[in-house]
Every structure is written in structure tokens, then in C-alpha cells.
């Protein structure tokens, strides 16, 4: 008989990785040896992607090479464009991303995941989202520009004009911060799919499906919903105490791994204060109240603010609609997903855990005519 059932596989080591380390005890997130606080506001998303895929930060020539490659595959295939046009304009953007990436990534025959495939998918995601956003607003599609970086292109294609440098920088920092995070549910999904020797796009489409869940990538939208309900800083304490009576969860708090303040949340909080003072005034009051209430209830638990809480304010300041928060998370995390898939594929073993049967013992079926 195998071991005991482990709910949520908590504490079970499902992979060995060199891509990122979530050091919960010390509140550190580490990308291939670099602590996130040292990277976040210093480097571009493209540099992080290079770090993940190739194992090192790029030289100037390598970075230019990667930027040129990304540029060359930002445009959607005709099939992907047709598929995008076929979907209802009121679809959840996560469903659009899942469906259109599934078309964009079609290969002539089954291929092992490569860095080239990773570049292809990473480049296409902002284009898919921007094209869908334009379409649902009845606006013409805006072609990507080869002279703009990844973050700048996303905002340019969404809005049809270049975004302010400050907003491009903010989106870039967000993408860097969210690019990987250990063995979270979507990354694990990607690795399980990779373990069957499936192709990269299959892994990514599965990961998008997992990220869609409110307990994972859906959280920043839920934070925004809750803040909208609370409305004003004065109302925070009253609303939140009542919410607890109804056993409602506070969105954006708690994490299975961090035992201290999430280092990404700290950076995003400072960005919020700068870029979105109105959000910050409400959010910081809500945070303070939430942490106080949670501490009263469970003084033994480390109830820290998580990354979703201040993500919401940063993404709002950048001008993204609320339903674009989860797919923008995917735009960042695709760098990590694809790196994990490449790592899994390089020393693969089929991921096939056991289950514990809790049904009845064997019995005979009753013929159809005799069933009640």
C-alpha cells in the first residue's frame, strides 16, 4: 500500500528546479540565484526570459538578438487571427487566450519543446490579448512595432498609441515580478503535461486553464471587486468586520509558502503609492485593517499581504481593464512556464501519482431492465 493521502500535495517535492526558489522562511524569491529585489526595477522582462531559458542574464548582443526574435514572431498566424475573430466578443479574455494560443502554437507534427517555441508563444500572447480587446471595442487591430520592447508593445497594441514611459516601466516591473514562482499550480500543470512528452503549446494551454481559477490567477480581479464593495477608507473597518461575520475571505491575503511579507508585494505596494494614490489610500487602509483582524483571529498565523493585493492597483494604473488582470499575469508567467517545461523535458519522468480508493468493494451490475 502506498503512503498516506497528502491533500494538495503540500510539502511533497514534485520537481527539482534551478529556475526559481520561493524561500518562504526568509521572504525571498530567487530567480536562478538572483534575489527578486535586485532584479525587479533593474532589468527588462526580456532579460528575465533570457535568464530563465538560457540560464544567464544576456549580454547586450544576446539581448538584441532575443528582442529581434520576439519581434519577428509577434504577429498572429492567419489561422489564429481567424479563430480570434470567430469567438464571441463577450468571452472571458482567459478563454480567448486559451483558445487562440492553442491555434497559434499548432505545429506541423509533434515536436519536443524548444526555446524557439517558448519565444514564439511568449511573443504572441500580448498580441492575442490586444487584438481581442480592440475587437470587442469595435476598434481596428494595431500591428506590433519592431522598435518597441515587450511591455511597450503590449500597451501600444492595446491603446493604439505609445504609453507613457512611466507606465511601460511599471508594466515591465510587474512582468518581471510575476515571471516565475516555484511550483505553483499552473507551473505544476505545465510540468505534468510536459511529462507525457506533449508539446509546449499543450503545456501552456493547460497552464492558462489552471491560472484561470480564482484561487490562483483570478485573485487580483477579486481584490478589485472587494475594494469596490468596500468603497471608502472610512468604511473599511465596518465592512470588513461584517464580512468576517459572514465568513467571507479577505482577497489578497495569505500564502501557503511565505511566512513573512511577500517581497513582490512590497515592491508593488511602493509602485502603487506612486502611480495610483487613490487606490493606495483605500488599499493601504484595507490592508492594515485586514491584517489586524486576521491577527486577532489567528495570532499564530503569519497572515501577510500577498502579491495579488497590490498587483490590482498597479494594473489599474497601467490602464488595464479588470478582466485583463488574469491574462496579463499569464503574459508574465509564460516565461516561467516555458522554462519549467524545458527543464522537465530535459530529464523527464511521467508524473503519475497514486490515488486512494474510497468507493465500495466489488459488486455485480444489475441488468438495465431490472434497475429501479
Amino acid at each position: 500500500m502506498p503512503q498516506e493521502y497528502i491533500p494538495g500535495l503540500e510539502g511533497i517535492v514534485a520537481a527539482q528546479t534551478e529556475i526559481s526558489l520561493v524561500d518562504g522562511e526568509n521572504g525571498r524569491l530567487v530567480y536562478r540565484g538572483y534575489v527578486i529585489a535586485d532584479l525587479a526595477e533593474e532589468i527588462s522582462f526580456e532579460e528575465v526570459a533570457h535568464l530563465f531559458w538560457y540560464g544567464s542574464l544576456p549580454s547586450r548582443a544576446q539581448l538584441d538578438g532575443l528582442a529581434a526574435q520576439l519581434s519577428s514572431v509577434r504577429t498572429l498566424t492567419p489561422a489564429a487571427m481567424t479563430a480570434l475573430d470567430a469567438l464571441p466578443t463577450d468571452s472571458d479574455p482567459m478563454d480567448v487566450l486559451r483558445s487562440v494560443l492553442s491555434v497559434q502554437g499548432v505545429l506541423p507534427h509533434l515536436q519536443k519543446p524548444t526555446i524557439e517555441h517558448a519565444i514564439h508563444a511568449t511573443a504572441a500572447m500580448p498580441t492575442i490579448l490586444a487584438a481581442f480587446h480592440r475587437r470587442r471595442k469595435g476598434l481596428d487591430f494595431v500591428k506590433p512595432r519592431p522598435d518597441l520592447g515587450h511591455a511597450a508593445n503590449y500597451l501600444y497594441m492595446l491603446n493604439g498609441e505609445e504609453a507613457a514611459p512611466e507606465l511601460v516601466r511599471a508594466l515591465n516591473t510587474y512582468l518581471v515580478l510575476l515571471a516565475d514562482h516555484g511550483m505553483n499550480a499552473s507551473t505544476f500543470t505545465a510540468r505534468v503535461i510536459a511529462s507525457t512528452d506533449s508539446d509546449l503549446v499543450s503545456c501552456l494551454v493547460g497552464a492558462i486553464g489552471a491560472l484561470k481559477g480564482p484561487a490562483h490567477g483570478g485573485a487580483p480581479s477579486a481584490v478589485m471587486d472587494q475594494l469596490e464593495q468596500i468603497g471608502t477608507a472610512e468604511n473599511a473597518e465596518h465592512w470588513m468586520r461584517e464580512a468576517r461575520m459572514r465568513k467571507e475571505r479577505f482577497m489578497g491575503f495569505g500564502h501557503r509558502v511565505y511566512r513573512t511579507y511577500d517581497p513582490r508585494a512590497r515592491i508593488l505596494k511602493a509602485m502603487c503609492q506612486r502611480l495610483n494614490p487613490k487606490f493606495y489610500a483605500l488599499a493601504s487602509k484595507v490592508e492594515e485593517t485586514a491584517l489586524a483582524i486576521l491577527h486577532e483571529e489567528h495570532p499564530e498565523r503569519p497572515q501577510a499581504t500577498n502579491v495579488e493585493f497590490y498587483s490590482a492597483g498597479v494594473l489599474q494604473a497601467i490602464g488595464l481593464p479588470k478582466d485583463f488582470f488574469p491574462p496579463t499575469f499569464a503574459v508574465a508567467r509564460v516565461a516561467g512556464w516555458s522554462a519549467h517545461v524545458l527543464e522537465q523535458a530535459s530529464h523527464n519522468r511521467l508524473i503519475r501519482p497514486q490515488s486512494e480508493y474510497i468507493g465500495p468493494q466489488p459488486r455485480k451490475p444489475v441488468p438495465l431492465a431490472e434497475r429501479g
Binding site: 502506498p2 493521502y5 494538495g8 500535495l9 511533497i12 514534485a14 534551478e18 526558489l21 524561500d23 536562478r32 540565484g33 538572483y34 535586485d38 532589468i43 489561422a79 481567424t82 479563430a83 475573430d85 469567438l87 463577450d90 472571458d92 478563454d95 486559451r98 491555434v103 499548432v106 506541423p108 509533434l110 505553483n184 499550480a185 505544476f188 505534468v192 503535461i193 510536459a194 511529462s195 507525457t196 506533449s198 499543450s202 503545456c203 486553464g209 489552471a210 491560472l211 484561470k212 481559477g213 484561487a215 490562483h216 508524473i351 503519475r352 501519482p353 490515488s355 486512494e356 480508493y357 468507493g359 466489488p362 459488486r363 455485480k364 451490475p365 444489475v366 438495465l368 431492465a369 434497475r371
Partner: protein
């Protein structure tokens, strides 16, 4: 934290009443406690679906109601149809299936998985698979017929003519036998995606993505390809001995869980005699020789024939081209995938395992771009 468990082998990741693979005794038990060898001769695929979703075999009235619901959901949405026609004619049918299910399930807002949705997605599978097949041959799509069973509809929509009863029977039996099988990689994928609170479509899309891998759903195709390549009775010994000398694996042999003959393989082997007598003869000789070679090489290993080997012969007899084998597998297993997702909702907990850090010591400082 525990040690790294490659492939999560032996780790119990779920408690389930949907099915039990009792490897030591060579038994497969479906929900309700039915042994597969008792159940398969007694029920149709629709009854097996009802059992997996509801926990009991249906009465005549319940079965009729389910058939009606499935008939109503077999026609694809206009948007899904357009997404399918956006794809190139020669697109891998599994890519068509992954994309079309993603589009068929695209919605405005996130819905919790329900039995009604499981019925709708399951019903749509043969329509999509048949559409992929017809498009590969540049033929017009055939509409489903309400009075035909699930299996009969698949053959009808593929061929555009009424299928012979025997073919329907073989295909239906295959669909019953493959409908669930413990916590295999695709079912596990569906449960991981479900654990984030995501929707049923995302779970199924992820599962299809995992099934696409040759180490999982691709084995039936590989087994048939091996038989094609062996070609004739007098080539069996030579072909297998040469393949073994090159350390090639024999597709259709070996399984991580069964320590005896797979009970599904036993049923399919018997059926293969009538489904395709000529291919059965070649396959039976191939099996005999392969098992002998494997036993001589590793007398300690229980090297039994698995379900993929004999499924490849029965599906051939049912008139399914091998390019569709993995899609037909998905058409069956979706019953189990959706049942597992529905079961997991009762006690939803995010599946987030740990990883072991193998990278450099945290804290190295990034060099500025121009100095790299």
C-alpha cells in the same frame, strides 16, 4: 519537507471513488464497485458515463433522459465550427480537439463545473473528432443524428453512412473500457486545474493537452505503427529482436501500476479476434514474441501487455484510422476526467507541491547590462 519523488510515484495525490486500479490483483474497479470485466459486457458508454458522474447505473428512464441531453448537445456552436475551419486541413486532430473544446466551452463568466456541463462537453467530442477527420480528407461535415448512440454517431459523422452494428459494438466497448483509470497523468492534470477553482472546460483542455503526449495517450497509435512496420507473420521475430538490440521500447507493453495482465487488454484481445482476424493473428504472434524477449531480458519484471496494444487492433477493426486513436481515447476518457473534477469540488484544495532548489546559492548580484 519530504524527499524528491520523481514522477510522484507512490505518492497519494487524491482520494477517489471514481475508479481503482488494483495493480497487484490485475483489477480495474469503476465507481459503485463494479469490476471492469463485469461492467463492460453489461453497459453502453452512456451508462458508464452516468455511473461515473452520478455513482449509480441509470434506470431506463434516466438513461433515456441522458441520451436526449447528449443528443441536444452534440451540435457544435457556430463559433466552434468557425474555429475548426480556421485551422489548416492537415492539423493534428488532437490540436483540433484541444482548440475546439476550448472554443466550445468559452463563456462570459466563470462557472463552477456541473454534470450538465460534463454532458455537454462529452457529447461534443465525437462531433469534433469527426469534423477533424472529414476536414483532413477535405470533405463536408456530417450532422449528428439524435436517434443514434454516442459510438454510432461518431462513426456516422466520420463516414457519412450508417455504420455496421458490429463496428458500433467494438467502438462502444472500447469507450467503456477506457473511460477511467485512476490518477493517470491526464486525469491528474484535470484535477490540478480544477483545484484552482477553474472551469470544467479548462480542466478538459488541460487533460487533452496531457493525453497528447506519446508517453500517455499516444501509445495506441505507436502500437499500431509497430504492427504496420512489422507487416507480416514471418517478420515478427526479426523485427522485435532488432528493435530490442537497439534498446527500443515495444509500444503496448509494460505499465507502472499493473503487475499482472491488464484486465482491459484481456477483453480487447478476445474482441480483436472478430474485429480484425488478420491483424489479430499478427498481433498475437507479436505479443508472444515480445513477452518472451522482455522476460528473457528482465525475468524479475512483470512485463505484461497493456491496453494500448490490443486497443489498436480493435479500433482498427471498428474502422478508425490510427491518426484518430488518441482523439478516440480522449472521447472515452472525458467521462472520467469530468467525473474526477466533479468529485474534487466536494473538498477543493489547491494542488501546490514543493520543489527542491538545485540552482546557485541565492544572493548573487546582477551585473549591469553593459558589463555582461
Amino acid at each position: 519537507m519530504t524527499e524528491y519523488s520523481p514522477g510522484l510515484e507512490g505518492v497519494v495525490a487524491a482520494q477517489t471513488a471514481i475508479s481503482e486500479v488494483d495493480g497487484a490483483n490485475g483489477r480495474l474497479i469503476y465507481r459503485g464497485g463494479y469490476l471492469i470485466e463485469d461492467l463492460a459486457p453489461a453497459v453502453s458508454f452512456e451508462e458508464a458515463c452516468y455511473l461515473l458522474w452520478n455513482g449509480e447505473l441509470p434506470s431506463k428512464a434516466q438513461l433515456d433522459a441522458l441520451r436526449q441531453e447528449m443528443a441536444a448537445a452534440r451540435t457544435l456552436k457556430g463559433t466552434t465550427r468557425n474555429v475548426i475551419t480556421s485551422l489548416d486541413y492537415d492539423t493534428d486532430p488532437m490540436d483540433v480537439l484541444r482548440t475546439a473544446i476550448s472554443a466550445q466551452g468559452a463563456a462570459k463568466t466563470l462557472q463552477k463545473p456541473t454534470v450538465a456541463e460534463a454532458i455537454a462537453l462529452t457529447a461534443a467530442m465525437p462531433t469534433i473528432v469527426a469534423a477533424a477527420h472529414r476536414r483532413r480528407h477535405k470533405r463536408d461535415l456530417v450532422e449528428p443524428r439524435a436517434e443514434l448512440s454516442h459510438a454510432a454517431n461518431l462513426l456516422w459523422m466520420m463516414d457519412g453512412q450508417e455504420p455496421a452494428k458490429e463496428r458500433v459494438y467494438w467502438l462502444d466497448q472500447y469507450l467503456v473500457l477506457l473511460a477511467d483509470h485512476g490518477l493517470n497523468a491526464s486525469t491528474f492534470t484535470a484535477r490540478v486545474v480544477a483545484s484552482t477553482g477553474s472551469d470544467l472546460t479548462s480542466c478538459v483542455v488541460g487533460a487533452i493537452a496531457a493525453l497528447k503526449g506519446p508517453a500517455h495517450g499516444g501509445a495506441t497509435y505507436a502500437a499500431r505503427t509497430m504492427l504496420d512496420s512489422i507487416g507480416s507473420m514471418d517478420n515478427v521475430e526479426k523485427w522485435l529482436a532488432e528493435a530490442h538490440a537497439k534498446h527500443a521500447r515495444f509500444p503496448g507493453f509494460g505499465h507502472r501500476v499493473y503487475r499482472t495482465y491488464d484486465p482491459r487488454a484481456k477483453i480487447l484481445r478476445e474482441m480483436a479476434k472478430t474485429a480484425d482476424p488478420k491483424l489479430h493473428q499478427l498481433a498475437a504472434h507479436t505479443e508472444e514474441v515480445a513477452l518472451k524477449i522482455l522476460h528473457d531480458a528482465h525475468p524479475e519484471r512483470p512485463n505484461a501487455t497493456n491496453v494500448d496494444f490490443w486497443a489498436s487492433v480493435v479500433l482498427t477493426g471498428a474502422g478508425i484510422p490510427k491518426e484518430l486513436f488518441t482523439c478516440i481515447f480522449a472521447t472515452s476518457r472525458i467521462a472520467g476526467w469530468t467525473a474526477h473534477v466533479l468529485e474534487s469540488l466536494a473538498d477543493l484544495r489547491i494542488i501546490r507541491p514543493a520543489s527542491q532548489w538545485m540552482g546557485p546559492e541565492p544572493g548573487k548580484k546582477p551585473a549591469p547590462l553593459e558589463k555582461r
